[in-house]
Every structure is written in structure tokens, then in C-alpha cells.
Symmetry: C2
Subunit: 463 residues, 2 copies
């Protein structure tokens, strides 16, 4: 009988806990959808500030704005964490032309982030199309030297995850110039990383690795329509030439900041959980999806926890990282300082995949912690959150990885993300208020559950 | 040993079947995403034809266009099914003003579909705000007579399904005029059925039921921003008046058509499966989401089945219904003719919830058939299709309901649907190509599975 009573007690207790969790999630979603702040914050970041490239005046404005907003929430602590960041400036607008005999056809391009400028008057050269870096070796110096290499491998439309399609192409953008320079190329042109056919070039980071400054060649992205046209003309006339001018410049590193706010834990203040996105963005649009959305959603997590009357047991921080796009200095700095201070991070959640309808999360964690997440599935079902899979979490929180922490990434619907990513149409009007708010509520729910139940510690191996 | 061999054989056979199904679905999604026709068809319907209100010239053009496109697919049969439809015409643009003392503030309105016009010079009257039909009774004739009744109950933002939020409000639009007329109201103004605050009025059907023609009062929708402003001004000054003019007119019924195409079944030609959307649309936008998307996705189902080399066992029809928006004459006619001919419909799938990322299906069917659907869940997982729930299927296929048929509705992500529904921004640019194509592939996959495995027949009750 005693055993039965205990079982009954436990079953009832578990029932109560689930019921309390259901209520808490319902409250969080209702608050976010009816009384949320995320959309208003994003409006300011996007429309009052705009594109926030590391080292720019706008990036500094975003630091000050988000710090002030976090202070207004009445968190336990808000502070700036200094970090030196690279400063790259696009300069005046790029120009590019396909030169087909007597005809010059203007096409939309943009310099890749980190690229050098073209020399005065721009670069004019023969152009050679390749489908990837591997082809360079076969072509060799003889066929590449002095030419512009045109990387034109498109994203694979048949992949359901557009991030997978991006992952399968982005080496052309990141390493194309470095690899082509080895064979004496004069410049590099990369098909924009987008699944849409349109006239918008998509920028993004590239690296010269250890290439000497004198050997660096200019690299630009061409719109997908431009790439299609160029490819077609090259097939008709292999003597087609290309001209482009860009005026970008790399400056010395400048001082910037991660913005951090904290609700100190009531029971386990030394167990730290963070939620974040990145404050910096590319300069062509206003960075609404990448990653204004993640920034305001992360701020909203702490606001929703406070508003719902929930008092976290653990310390919960919002971290707005600087310089994810072209250096990851903020993410690295945060992890470095945490290590120096001996802080124990048990959980980190990043939102950096756009402000679209949330579908779930990816997790980089132990099987035991993942099993706990799986047990929460039914709590998320009313909100159509169904995707709980192991996988990469996010660039900024990656440096915190150890064998204890749970790293998680919000996974919104990915279909439209690369229509806007790093392009001039990554703007506020492309964000749907409800989709953004659902993401914030979904993140808050996961943070609540991990705060309430903690993470599973790894078993100590007996010596 | 014999038993074991049989089990092994069966297990292997089931394995092969699953593998074949996986391959078929992969092929369907790949074809739709890399070589689809749905987006091109929608471009024509939306941009070359435009809004397709029943009885209009555009509706007739859409009939001819889709018939020709189905014929070009080389289906076994394509035909037009005659149906008489109502003809309502908006006439010249509506105008409306809030009259606040000396001040006149223009606000965006549109006549509700089926409404009468205002008399010459428009209707000017006192205005009274209510939150719903129930309030009318309490107010009574004394407070309503001669006034414009302003129905301002908003859609509930905290509901995750926007269709539920719509369902909770749309009685104001559909029956508001009929109910208010009972108390001598002079006209009706309804808050647009949208969760966004913007300047677009959303039309939609309304009914006077058995109200005599002389007693019918004009009914219009006001934009959500307009509704907010009007409500605020009314609170400040209950003597605020309202003026509006609309010039709409109901004509005699005209001849129109459902468009039907068929692949005749190779094994069970008398078992008919249909997939469809509705050809007609409201007149303010071009009807891209409602329901151009459903039309082209349904056409694409038959094309994808043909292209993938799959030969259906059962007869599969695409049905493009006329007059879903303001009469359902097409849906009723199709079911009527099917009954007359003694046709046996075992399955019907409708897409009429927008061309957004598909999440799954709702099913109106027996438990046995639903259990079969559940067994297919894992086949859909790679495509992030997770929603399989019992629920309403679709208006056009509803009249086919009996105790044998499986009725299904495609369920896309609903967050953005009512931003566009029945408004001027239901346009082609609001449809994402991949989202549309994923919907078509998801529908094709379900049709394939039901064709291959058939439906479960209800058990005969032994007499």
C-alpha cells in the first residue's frame, strides 16, 4: 500500500508539473502574440538604425539602443563586454558589365565582405566559368592566369533545408578568391547564394587566408539573373569579357561590444544559461532577418519570463553578439571571458536563421539531454513545434562547447531565408510580426524548461 | 520453417514497398522543386488574367486557360462541367469618411461581396460600435434604428491557427447585415478579417438570407487601422458620424464551368480520386493565394504523377471549382453530377489555405483510414510534413461527403494567410515559389499513397 501511495503521489506530482508547464507555455505564447515587444524593437533596429556592419556607426548605435532597452526591462544586470572588431567599408556602389563584342550589358554585383578594391578604372579581363573549386586544378594556371574566375554552381533546389543547399555552395564565396589566386586569376565573381532568380547580389564573408596583401584579388557576387545571363553568353561566345569596379577598404580593428543582460538565478545563480543573436549585419539591407530577428527574440525571452511572473532558478543571460558576419570576434570573446572567470555555462540557445515561423530546434548535446528534450515534445505540439533534431546550433555560441553544455539553435522555416540573406531586401517589411513572435515564444518555452528541470550532468567515469 | 520463410518474405516485401514509396516521394519533391510548372501557371493566372470573380470575364479566361493547359498535359480526358453562378459587380471604388464635428477623415473600405449599393450620395448616419451579433439584442431597436452598426471584434491573436481566429469572427461579416437589419440599422461596417494593422480592407461573402430586397442594407469592410481609429474617435465622441458610398450590383446568374481533367485508372477506373482548388477569386487582388495556389498545385499533382512515370491504378481527377467564394455552386454541382452518374468517389483533397509552406493535412474520414494515414507519417518526415489531424477538409469537396470517402485538406503554415486574404495584396509577389512547389509535392505524395494502397472500406454491418 505504501508503495502504491508513493506511486500515486508521484504520478499526481508529475501530472501537476506537466499541467504547470502547459500553463506556462500557453502564457508565454499568449503574451508574445498579444503584448509582445519584439516587433517594435525590430522596427527600431531596422528602420531607425539600419544595416549594422561591424565597426560602423550603426553598429555602435545598435549597441547603445539595445543596452538601454535591456536596462528599461529592469534586469538584474546589464553590461557591455568590450571586443575589438574588424572594420571593412564598401565605399561607393560597385559597377559591372558583361562585354560581348561591341555590346556592354550592365549587371548587378556587390563586393564580397573582406575583398580588396579593384584598381583605378576597374578590372577588365576574360572570364572563365567553373562549377567549383575542384575544377581549378584541372584547368591549371595556363587557362586561369589573368582571367576572372566565375564560380557558378547554384544552390541545389531539391534539398528541403535551404541551409543544406547553402552549405553545399558557400565554399565558392568564402575560399574562391584564395583558391583562384593560386592559379594567377585576376579576380573572382561568384553566383549569389540564393535559390531565387532575381536581380539582387548577395554579399557575405570571404577570406584570403595567408595570402600576401599584394597577391589578393578582388571578389564580387553577381545576382542570380546576372549569373544566368553571363553563363548563357559565355556558352555562345567564350571570348566574352567582364569589367567590374569596387571601392571597398579594410581599416584597422576598432572597439566594439557584446551587449549582455542578466536575470540572476534564485537557486543556482552559478549555473548560467544564455540566449542570443548577433547585433551586427551586412550593409546592403537593414539586417532584419539576419539577425535583427534573433536579437529582438533573445531580448524578448527575458522580458517574457519576467512578464509571466516566472522566477528563474538559474542565471539567464541575453547575449547580443558583435561581429558574427565577418570575424566571430564577439562569440569568441564571450567564451574567452567566461573561461577566464570560471563561469559554468550549462545551456546556450541561438536564433540566427531568420524571423520565420519556428519549426523547432537543433541540439548539440549529450544523448541524455536530448532524451529530456524529446520528453517535452508534447508540450510544444499545440504550437506546431515538431522539429527536434541533433545538429549544429549556431556560430556565436559554438565557442562555448564542452562535454556538459546543451547548445541549441532555433530552426524556423527555411524556405524564404536565402531570398533575403545578405541582400538589399533583408528588410523589415520581409518579417511577419506573428512569425517573429512565435519564434520568441518558442525560445522562451525551451529556456523555461531547461531552467526548471536543469540539464543532465555527464556521468563521471570511475577511475 | 515454412512460416518463417513466409514472414521473411512478407517483411522483405514490405521493406521493398516502403523503399519504393520513399523513392517515389523523393522523385516527386525533386521534380516539383527543380522542374515544376505550378509557379509559371500561377504567374499567368495572377498577372496575365488577375482577379476572377464568378461571372466575370476574367473567370471565363481562367476557365479557358486552365482547360488548355490541362489538355497540353496529355491527360486521358479534359472537360468543362457547366454550372450557373451568381454575378456580383463592385462598380466604381468605394469611399468612406469618419465625420467628427467639422472634420472628415477618409478611411479605406470595400463593399462586402453580395452587398447592395448605398443610395445616391451615399449613406450618412450615426455609428454604433459592437463586439458581435449578440450585443444587438441587448441594444435593441431603440439604439440601433437608423444607425450604421460597426462590428469591431478583432481576430484573436493568441490562437496559433489563424483559421480558428478567423472562424471566431467571420459571423460578423457573413450575418452582420442580416442581424442588424432586424433592428432597423441603416448599414453595417465590419472590421476587416485580418490580424495585421494596415490600410487594406478585406472583402468576403455576406448573406441577407431571406430578407426582402427592400429591407437590405449596405455592408462594407473597413481596414484594421481604420477600425482602430474609428473606435478611438467614438470613445472620445459618441456623436461621431460615418459616411460611405458603394456602387455594387447583383445581376442575374450567368453560365460558367468547373474545369475537370482526368487520368483514367489502370486497375480500378471506377474508383475516383479528386484533387482541387477553386478558380474564382475575389476582385481586389489577383487571387494568388486564394486560390490560384490551390488551382495550380492541383494541376501540378497530375503533371507530377505523369512525369514521375507512375501509372495510377485508380482514376485521378483534377477539379478546378467555380464560385467557391460566393455561392459554392461549383462544389455543389460537381457532387450533384457525380451522384447522378453513380460515380464512386473514394478520396478528395482540396488546397484552399494559401500557397505557404505545407505542414500537413486535415482529414475528414473513418478511424481506419486515418490510422492508415498515420502509418505514412515517417514517409513525410524528410519533407518536414508533420501535421496529420482530423478536421474539416475544404468547402468545395464537402458536398461529396459520405461514410466511405476520405476528405483531406492541405494545411500550409497559416501565419501570413489573413494578411492577404480577400484584400488587394493577395498578389503573385506574396507567393514564394518553393513554398508553392512544396505544397504541390506534398499533395502529390498523399494522392500517390492513396492511389497505391486504396482506402479502407467500412465494414458491412451483418443483418
Amino acid at each position: 500500500m505504501k508503495k502504491l501511495s508513493l506511486l500515486l503521489f508521484l504520478a499526481t506530482a508529475i501530472g501537476f508539473a506537466q499541467n504547470a508547464d502547459e500553463k506556462q507555455l500557453r502564457e508565454v505564447y499568449t503574451q508574445s502574440l498579444t503584448n509582445g515587444k519584439s516587433y517594435e524593437w525590430l522596427d527600431h533596429l531596422s528602420n531607425k538604425i539600419g544595416g549594422r556592419l561591424s565597426g560602423s556607426e550603426n553598429a555602435e548605435k545598435a549597441v547603445q539602443y539595445t543596452k538601454a532597452e535591456l536596462e528599461a526591462l529592469g534586469l538584474d544586470k546589464v553590461w557591455l563586454q568590450p571586443v575589438m572588431v574588424p572594420k571593412w567599408v564598401r565605399g561607393k556602389a560597385e559597377e559591372a558589365f558583361i562585354i560581348n563584342g561591341e555590346k556592354k550589358i550592365e549587371v548587378p554585383i556587390c563586393a564580397l565582405g573582406g575583398s580588396v578594391a579593384t584598381k583605378d578604372g576597374g578590372l577588365t579581363a576574360d572570364i572563365i566559368e567553373v562549377q567549383g573549386i575542384k575544377e581549378l586544378e584541372a584547368l591549371g594556371t595556363e587557362k586561369i592566369k589573368g582571367k576572372i574566375v566565375f564560380f557558378n554552381r547554384p544552390m541545389q533546389a531539391e534539398l528541403i533545408s535551404t541551409f543544406k543547399a547553402y552549405g553545399g555552395c558557400v565554399d565558392q564565396r568564402y575560399a574562391g578568391a584564395f583558391e583562384a589566386a593560386k592559379f594567377g586569376a585576376a579576380g573572382v565573381l561568384v553566383r549569389s547564394m540564393s535559390l531565387r532568380l532575381d536581380d539582387l547580389p548577395h554579399t557575405g564573408s570571404m577570406s584570403y587566408k595567408d595570402l600576401a596583401v599584394k597577391d589578393r584579388i578582388p571578389a564580387a557576387a553577381i545576382s542570380t539573373n546576372g549569373a544566368e545571363l553571363l553563363s548563357m553568353l559565355l556558352k555562345k561566345n567564350p571570348k566574352t569579357r567582364f569589367n567590374f569596379s569596387q571601392h571597398c577598404q579594410q581599416f584597422d580593428d576598432v572597439q566594439s561590444y557584446n551587449v549582455v543582460g542578466e536575470i540572476t538565478g534564485s537557486e543556482f545563480p552559478k549555473e548560467i544559461m544564455i540566449v542570443g543573436g548577433h547585433l551586427d549585419s551586412w550593409d546592403l539591407g537593414d539586417g532584419s532577418h539576419d539577425d535583427g530577428a534573433g536579437v529582438v527574440q533573445s531580448m524578448e525571452v527575458l522580458r517574457l519570463l519576467k512578464e509571466s511572473g516566472y522566477r528563474p532558478k538559474r542565471t539567464i543571460r541575453v547575449v547580443l553578439f558583435m561581429n558574427e558576419e565577418n570575424g566571430l570576434r564577439g562569440g569568441n570573446k564571450y567564451a574567452e571571458v567566461a573561461k577566464e572567470k570560471g563561469e559554468k555555462h550549462i545551456f546556450a540557445l541561438e536564433s540566427d536563421a531568420g524571423g520565420f515561423t519556428p519549426r523547432g530546434f537543433s541540439f548539440d548535446c549529450s544523448d541524455e539531454n536530448f532524451a529530456m528534450v524529446e520528453s517535452w515534445r508534447k508540450l510544444f505540439k499545440p504550437y506546431l513545434i515538431h522539429y527536434f533534431e541533433k545538429g549544429g546550433s549556431g556560430a556565436d555560441i559554438g565557442p562555448l562547447k564542452d562535454d556538459q553544455i546543451v547548445l541549441a539553435g532555433l530552426r524556423p522555416d527555411s524556405q524564404r531565408y536565402f531570398d533575403h540573406h545578405h541582400a538589399a531586401n533583408d528588410t523589415f517589411d520581409a518579417v511577419n510580426k506573428r512569425e517573429l513572435e512565435l519564434g520568441a515564444a518558442t525560445m522562451t518555452s525551451l529556456v523555461y524548461l531547461f531552467d526548471k528541470y536543469g540539464t543532465v550532468k555527464p556521468k563521471k567515469i570511475k577511475g
